[in-house]
Amino acid sequence: MSINKIKNRLKETSKQDNTWIERAKYRKENNAWLDISFAIAVKIMSALKANKTVGVSPKTQKELAVAMDCSPQYVNKLLKGTENLQLETITKLENILNINLIQVPAFESTIQIERSNIYTKSNDIINAGDSYSSSYEELKLIGTYSDENEFDCILKVA
């Protein structure tokens, strides 16, 4: 059969694909949250696998569904990485599987300490003379020392 005949026959008898083009556009438009949903699915499966290895529940999709009080179909949907998950669902999964799935970054702050004003008790926390980057929780801790002992520092909140 000639090339042109094959080409014409392909053209005439083929259906227009809508499945891929629509799915591809959807994936592109929803890329940001699909990335997270996919990563969460991978992590849940790893946790189930790890539980299976040590014989702890939940170790299957079915057991996870029971623990979550939802249908196995919903768990399957979660594991397909295409579910736009609610925070409530995510935290429930974290508790049941004892894993971290999402984290909100801590508030970044910078504290600059003058070498001459270092409070001796805080040496185990702060290196003398260094600029010190700290999480909000650590700053609160340092702040306590500051209040009680006139700790002299410059605090910058990013």
């Binding site: 094959i6 392909l10 694909d17 083009i21 591809a24 996919f38 790893s46």
Partner: protein
């Protein structure tokens, strides 16, 4: 195995077959599977030995799943651009994606071709028959972790599909037969 339909992915340039055993055409199926964590987990658990190969730097299953999706995403975005451009202007870039299946085996017509994912190195493959320049018919796709296609069953199946689709396309013309009924 029987081809039940052909689909135009990019009109006049990229087509895909659909087999009677599958719910989707082969091209669409590849991207569904490469975006499916359950399928990918099963696949990499089955082929963990190939992943442990030095070439892939002993990636973990989790890393392999994430790499696959990332590569599929880049691959799909590239093909989407081509599909959208192809509507309005002559498509030139499709030929740059496909290359002969085996090095040094260049055939004028009905060449067995492959397209690789966007990452380097990439284990994603789409297999197609090149009817002529800028006209391809996709007949399958795979995750290829081994140097050759002859060592793994799922890749041997892809070789069969290439051969099957080529024979199908080269089938003698019969006005009484619908194109998709040829075997």
């Amino acid at each position: 195995m029987k081809i039940i339909n052909t689909f135009a992915i990019v009109k006049d340039s990229l087509y895909s077959v659909q087999y009677d055993t599958e719910g989707l055409n082969e091209f669409a199926k590849c991207f569904e599977l490469w975006n499916d964590p359950i399928y990918l987990r099963e696949f990499f658990e089955k082929h963990q030995e190939d992943l442990d190969n030095g070439f892939w730097n002993g990636r973990t299953i989790e890393e392999a799943i994430l790499k696959t999706r990332e590569d599929a995403k880049l691959f799909e975005e590239k093909l989407l651009r081509i599909a959208e451009t192809g509507k309005t202007e002559r498509l030139e870039t499709l030929s740059t994606l496909f290359e002969p299946l085996s090095k040094g085996v260049i055939e004028e017509n009905f060449e067995k071709d492959k397209a690789k994912g966007m990452q380097r190195p990439s284990w994603l493959r789409i297999y197609a028959i090149r009817i002529k320049a800028n006209l391809f018919v996709v007949c399958g796709g795979a995750i290829k972790l081994t140097p050759t296609m002859n060592d793994r069953d799922h890749l041997k199946m892809e070789l069969k599909k290439l051969e099957f689709t080529r024979n199908y396309l080269q089938g003698e013309d019969d006005e009484n037969l619908e194109f998709f009924e040829l075997n």
